[in-house]
């Protein structure tokens, strides 16, 4: 079976953001060299021959923190394992400030055609507070540099429900972001996760999130402003101009398979989800030994697939198509989920037509209530 996507994780950062719970380590040149050795071994193991995929997403951490030489080596490595073409979506995550024109030149030369930037907010005081190193002017410099090298498929990430952030603050951030007139925006709300600086402060009572009401108002405002700017709310946290939806993210929501390479990366292959080892030395050791640095494999049977089809698919504006469900699982959606669908419709959270089921606007606010209902009791 063909696997349409690949995610590659580069876990290094110059500074660790206070909210981040992804796999990340402080950058040192030596460790990054070792890491690239390990990554190469892992790719050799899974991809002895180059393969064709539709999307590649290089995320982090901060992929652009690699030195120019390392970046070149990495891009070369990807080039050797995948058939890179202009038709595919090849995304690099970047932090504003890390991108100089040499690096951008390099990315473009190897076929990277999309950049996703972790902007978060246009407010230097808030950036400082959440532990980011970049400042708002860096965003302007970088976007200009990218456009100069003809990388115009740019997305930026914005965060809301940050400690001390008012509805008005977020409104200013959205307005400033929209002024770039970019084809894609993602916007995520803060979750305070264990093993982060924020979590420790939160536990000590030194930090609090804005009230649920404010968070709801921020999310509603976000949807309204994006819509006014002609952008389609194609997934809970994502907005795009027609034709610029992130194909890579849609792989996840469409419940399709993907490779996951790198420390702490997640992959989804037929019958199982794989989780890689997170700690760097352990990942490197295992990858160098046998090319298979897997911490855990979660078997995924038909039940799990059906559940995921629903709770991932319903994140999309188009919802889950009944015909697709029927074709994949050889059962009708109604046959499996009649009770859930009816009760969610009665609660005003779900709508249905001949083609698909999808969230109502209220359902978008209370998505978890809907998603839970599609978990099948044992």
């Amino acid at each position: 079976m063909r696997i349409p996507s690949a995610y590659i994780h580069i876990p290094f950062c110059q500074q660790i953001c206070h909210y981040c719970d992804f796999t990340k380590f402080f950058y040192t040149e030596k460790q990054a060299d070792d890491y690239l050795d390990a990554l190469e071994n892992e790719m050799n193991h899974y991809l002895p021959e180059p393969v064709q995929v539709e999307t590649i997403f290089v995320g982090g951490g901060t992929p652009t923190i690699l030195s120019e030489a390392q970046l070149r080596r990495f891009l070369q490595m990807v080039d050797e394992h995948f058939h890179i073409s202009g038709d595919m979506e090849y995304t690099f995550e970047a932090n504003p400030g890390d991108l100089n024109s040499e690096k951008i030149q390099l990315l473009a030369a190897y076929g990277v055609n999309r950049v996703s930037m972790g902007v978060q907010v246009f407010d230097d005081a808030m950036l400082e507070k959440i532990g980011r190193l970049h400042r708002k002017k860096d965003v302007y410099t970088n976007i200009e540099a990218l456009l100069n090298k003809d990388i115009s498929n740019i997305s930026i990430d914005l965060m809301y429900a940050l400690p001390g952030q008012s509805v008005h603050d977020f409104e200013e951030t959205i307005d400033e972001a929209l002024a770039f007139n970019l084809p894609h925006y993602s916007s995520y709300s803060l979750q305070i996760e264990p093993k982060t600086v924020f979590y420790q402060r939160y536990k000590r009572g030194e930090l609090s999130k804005p009230p649920e009401e404010d968070e709801a108002v921020m999310y509603e405002m976000l949807q309204r402003k994006m819509n006014d700017a002609g952008l389609n709310h194609y997934e809970i946290s994502n907005f795009a101009a027609e034709g610029y939806e992130s194909q890579h993210n849609l792989t996840y929501w469409n419940n399709h398979f993907y490779y996951g390479f790198g420390a702490g990366a997640h992959g989804y292959l037929p019958g199982k989800r794989l989780i890689n080892i997170r700690p760097l030395p352990a990942y490197v050791k295992q990858a160098c030994e046998n090319g298979r640095p897997v911490l855990h494999e979660e078997p995924i049977g038909r039940k799990e697939m059906m559940e995921e089809e629903m709770f991932l698919g319903l994140r999309k504006a188009e919802g889950v198509q009944k015909a697709v469900f029927q074709e994949r699982y050889n059962r009708s959606m109604h046959n499996v989920y009649q009770e859930a669908i009816t009760s969610l419709q009665n609660r005003g959270l779900l709508q249905e037509d001949e083609v698909a089921v999808r969230l109502t606007s209220k359902g978008k606010m209370l998505g978890n209530e809907v998603f839970q209902a599609f978990l099948i009791d044992d």
Binding site: Y7, F22, G59, D157, S186, S187, Y188, S189, L190, Q191, E212, E213, E215, A216, Y219, I236, S237, Y252, Y258, G260, A265, H266, G267, Y268, R273, I275, E298, E304, E307, E308, F311, L312, R347, K364, M365, L366, G367, N368, E369, F371, Q372, L375
Partner: protein, 604 residues
């Protein structure tokens, strides 16, 4: 050896101690010394075998272990160590185990001295004519004051403590002397091997293969495999399959003789046929009179128990039936609540008893429960001169139909160092107590006596006492009867509907304040729903307090999770699991702890 001389070398005893004064540790040392357990088998605190007992560090179920003790003079003695629970709620079980003994080892902490509960149990032992061997434990503590404690034992209990044994069970100090004194001080069991069989059932268990396993103590005659026996209370007859003793593992024997303490099975499948407190005799040559049984203690605290999942109703009934088998102080009868569906109204000796039953049902039987706030029994005289008993607040008639209400009062005795007299009196006053008496036990310790409505002490009285006295207060109570009280029923409404399971009874003077506290508390305990939910407290038709649970506004994962779908799934599963532990009451999802919250009073 003749059975006569064997009987002379039997000693049946129990250990009386306050929680944490070292009873279990001493029992372990005795088991070690008598080689009942090899070092390898030795788990800490062997007698407390139930998980719950280990976790709480208290003994609930009775255990009876047979031990062999080789005396210096070369004689072999047989000891039966019968364990007793230390908590005030379990006085009933204590009296059961004491009835199987001729003596008791009284363990008192060398630093803390006698506590009120110990006192209660010692009095029970004295009433049963038991020989008491006082032991002052934990003499290794720097704060130990053995001489003062000796004086206290004499002053407070009135027994001679001049030859009290100084011990440190932890280090094994004094254990030999205790064993020696058990031989010399405690009499051998009386009774004749030739008289008709009289064996007291002092506890029992149910085993799905063997039926009822009765813990018995043979007072007269003997019992062996194949004997046809008769339960003197129920009149039911059985044939004995197995008799044996606990060493401490069950060890089958051919016969149990007068003075022996052990177990018996007889394919008794119906648990009602073998009641704790009943006397077993032989069908041939039966005894004329049964042994004095136990006075069945009446439950004092009642609550509703409902399965969260209605399909577990039958499982819950089976669980209660099994638990009642060896705990006849547990009562239950079916009841129905509009809010909670089918369940049971259950009666308990006290709060700890209730919590333990609740936890055993949840753990051992795997049933998720909703427990309503505990209530006492109120006596109501209606305007048409009818007398009714109310053990469920929602059954209280409308206020205009009520002529007078009486509630049970207890005499509460709190023993406390003199520095804490103020805080203790403050708590008692807040709990509607009437001051009765105050006595100095010695230079430092004071006995404070109050009459307090039982309903005020069932919930958090002991906890507040402990927290306000840095753990020094100890407490005991006895029922003194019913008194008139100005009580009213308070109803709680969620989203406009009265929720019967949340109704409670409150003194009129405190009603307004309590109503306000409870609606605030429920507002915080009940999670936001898809719509706004008003929470109201009402007396009759009059709303006296109100708060509002705001509608849920946003609950959707909008964090950047990348390809980590496993984590998304776990989060959704957790949210769904949380919902399952809530009960749909009308249109509102209510968590289990909300039903108990009506009795929690904030101190400030």
């Amino acid at each position: 050896m003749s059975s006569q001389s064997k009987q002379q070398r039997v000693r049946n005893f129990s250990i009386i101690a306050h929680i944490d004064h070292g009873k279990s540790t001493l029992a372990d040392r005795i088991l070690e010394k008598t080689k009942a357990l090899t070092q390898r088998e030795m788990k800490e605190q062997f007698l407390d075998a139930m998980d719950l007992e280990r976790e709480r560090g208290i003994t609930i179920k009775l255990n009876a272990v047979q031990l062999n003790y080789l005396h210096e003079n070369g004689d072999d003695y047989t000891f039966h160590l019968i364990d007793t629970p230390g908590h005030v709620d379990f006085t009933y079980e204590v009296s059961r185990s004491l009835a199987a003994c001729e003596g008791a080892v009284l363990v008192v902490d060398a630093a803390q001295g006698i506590e009120a509960q110990t006192l209660a149990n010692v009095y029970l032992a004295l009433e049963n004519d038991l020989e008491i061997i006082p032991v002052i434990n934990k003499i290794d503590l720097p704060s130990a004051e053995p001489e003062r404690i000796k004086q206290e034992i004499e002053d407070v209990i009135g027994i001679d403590a001049s030859d009290a044994i100084l011990a440190s069970a932890k280090d094994g100090v004094g254990v030999d002397e205790i064993l020696e004194r058990i031989v010399t001080d405690i009499p051998a069991p009386a009774g004749s091997p030739d008289d008709p069989l009289k064996a007291l059932i002092f506890d029992s268990l149910y085993d799905s293969y063997r039926g009822v396993i009765a813990y018995i103590c043979v007072r007269e005659g003997s019992i062996k495999v194949g004997d046809k026996i008769k339960m003197m209370q129920t009149g039911k007859e059985f044939e004995v399959n197995e008799v044996g003793v606990f060493r401490p593992k069950p060890t089958p024997l051919e016969e149990l003789n007068v003075g022996d303490v052990g177990y018996m099975t007889a394919s008794i499948k119906n648990i009602g046929d073998s009641r704790v407190g009943d006397t077993i005799t032989q069908v041939k040559n039966p005894a004329e009179e049964p042994l004095p049984g136990y006075k069945r203690l009446n439950p004092m605290v009642f609550c509703g128990m409902y399965p969260v999942d209605a399909s577990n109703y039958n499982d819950l009934r089976d669980a209660l039936e099994r638990l009642e088998l060896n705990d006849s102080s547990l009562q239950y009868e079916a009841e129905t609540s509009q809010a909670l569906g089918f369940g049971f109204r259950c009666g308990f000796l006290g709060m700890l008893h209730m919590e333990i039953i609740q936890e055993r049902i949840e753990r051992e039987y795997g049933i998720d429960l909703i427990t309503t706030a505990p209530s006492v029994i109120y006596q109501v005289k209606t305007t048409d001169d009818e007398d009714i008993m109310i053990d469920n607040p929602s059954m209280m008639p409308d206020n205009q139909r009520v002529n007078e209400v009486q509630e049970p009062f207890v005499k509460a005795t709190v023993m406390v160092p003199e520095d804490y007299v103020g805080p203790v009196m403050k708590i008692c006053e807040r709990k509607r107590g009437n001051f009765m008496d105050m006595q100095y036990l010695d230079d430092n310790r004071v006995n404070i006596v109050y009459e307090i409505p039982l309903s005020e002490i069932v919930y958090d009285f002991f906890d507040s006492l402990k927290s306000q006295t840095k753990g020094y207060a100890s407490f005991d109570y006895e029922m003194i009867g019913y008194r008139d009280s100005n009580l009213v029923k308070m109803d709680i409404l969620l989203n406009g509907d009265t929720i019967d399971a949340l109704s409670f009874i409150v003194h009129r003077d405190f009603a307004y304040e309590r109503g306000k506290q409870i609606v605030e508390k429920l507002k915080d305990l009940i999670p936001r729903q898809q719509f706004e939910v008003p929470v109201q407290a009402a007396i009759g038709n009059k709303i006296i307090a109100r708060s509002t649970i705001k509608a849920i506004r946003k609950n959707v994962l909008s964090k950047c999770y990348g390809g980590d779908i496993t984590r998304k799934r776990k989060l959704l599963e957790k949210q769904k699991e949380g919902k399952k532990r809530m009960k749909m009451v009308g249109s509102v999802e209510v968590p289990q702890e909300a039903f108990m919250s009506v009795l929690e009073i904030n101190d400030d």
